[in-house]
C-alpha cells in the first residue's frame, strides 16, 4: 500500500511542479520596467539615450522575449501580452510598447507574416533549416 502512495505521490507532485511552472512562466512583461527606466514621451512611447541595439539587448536581458525580429529600421520584441519596438531616432532610440493586437497592426510591415498571418499562422522564416534540424 505504501508503495502506491509513494508512486502516486511522485506522479502527482511531478504534475504539480509542471502545472505551477507553466502557470507562472510567460507572465513577465517589460512594460513597467521600461516605464521606470526610460523617459516617457507619450502613451506607451519612451525615449532612451542608447542605440536601438543596445536598448533592445538591455530589455531582452531583463525580460526574455518569446521572439524577436531585427530589421534594418529597428528591433521588435514579442512578449505574451506586448510587442515592444525599439526604433532609431536622432541621438538615441524610441521605444514603443503596445498590446499584441495594436503592435501587430502598427508594425505590420515589419512583423506581419512572421508573428501572424492569415488565420493567425505565421508563414515566413519558420523552422531550423534543411531537414527540420534543430527541433
Amino acid at each position: 500500500m505504501r508503495r502506491h502512495f509513494v508512486g502516486g505521490g511522485i506522479v502527482a507532485v511531478l504534475g504539480t511542479i509542471v502545472l505551477v511552472a507553466a502557470a507562472f512562466s510567460g507572465n513577465t512583461s517589460p512594460d513597467r520596467w521600461i516605464s521606470s527606466h526610460y523617459t516617457r514621451v507619450g502613451d506607451g512611447v519612451y525615449r532612451a539615450n542608447g542605440s536601438p541595439l543596445s536598448v533592445a539587448a538591455a530589455i531582452s536581458r531583463k525580460f526574455k522575449p518569446n521572439d524577436r525580429i531585427y530589421e534594418p529600421s529597428g528591433v521588435f520584441l514579442r512578449y505574451p501580452k506586448h510587442i515592444v519596438a525599439v526604433l532609431p531616432v536622432a541621438g538615441g532610440s524610441q521605444i514603443l510598447v503596445d498590446d499584441v493586437d495594436r503592435g501587430y497592426r502598427r508594425h505590420h510591415s515589419s512583423v506581419g507574416s512572421r508573428w501572424g498571418g492569415s488565420g493567425g499562422r505565421a508563414s515566413i522564416f519558420r523552422g531550423g533549416g534543411p531537414g527540420g534540424g534543430g527541433k
Partner: protein
Amino acid sequence: MSGSGGAQKNGNNWGCMVAIIAIIAVLTVADLIDWGGGGDADVPVGGGLFGSRGAGHLVERLNDATRAQKICYGWKIDTDAPVDYREYTTPIRPANPAVPPPADLDDDIDRYDDNETDVGSNLGTGLDPRQHPQQCPRWVVFTASYTYSYYEEKWTSVSIDIETNLQISIGEDALRRAGITRSDLLGSQATARLADAVGVLPMIVAEKGAAPQVPQPAASEPLPGDKPTPPGVARYVWMGIGGVLIAAGLTWIIVAAVRSRRSA
C-alpha cells in the same frame, strides 16, 4: 494471504500502467506541440533557404537600406545540405530597385560550385553584391557555413563572418552584442535568426557611424483575417499535462486504497 498478495500485485501492475500511460502521453503531446521549430510542414514554399515570401521580405528591406545608406547588403549561406536544399524556383527581385539591376539579369545569377549555397542581396536572390561592383561599390555581406549531420538530420555547427569593403570593422562580436549568437543560428528558429543576422547589418553600420539610420518602411495594414499568432500555446499544453499527471497520481492512490480496503 495469497488473495491479498494477488490483489497487491494487481495494484502494483495497475499503478505502473497508469504511470507509464501518463509518461507516454506527456512525451507524445510534447512531441506533437508546434514549438515553432522545424519539420516538414515548415519547408519553405518557393525554394531556397527562406522561401519565396521570406526572401522577398528580406530583399525589400535590404533594398530600403541600400536606398537610405547607399550601401549594398547581402548574404551567402552554405547550408551543407544538398539533399534538402532547393534553389528559389523564381528569382526574387526588388519591386523598386534602389540601384540599377545588373544587365542581362536572367543570365546573371552568381552560381557557386555547389548547389547548397543560398545567396541573395538587395539586388535579389542569387545575386552577390561583391560580384557587381558597378551596382555595388560599397557592400556588406553576411556569410555562414554550416555543417550538416545526416545522422542527426540537423545543422551541428556553423562558422559566421561579416565581410565588407567599408572602412569599418564588423565581426561576429557585433552580432553577439546585438543578441544573435551561433547557438541561435543552430536552434529551432535558425532560419529566422539568419534573416535577423542579415537584417540587422544596416543598423550595425549606422551605429558605427558609417551611414545614416534606415527610416521605417511604409505602413501596411493587415488584410482581413490577418491576425497575430496566439502567444504561449505551449504554456497551456504544459498546464494540461501537469493536470493529467496530478489526476493520474491521485487516481493511482485512490484505486490502490480502495483495492487494499476490499482485500483487507
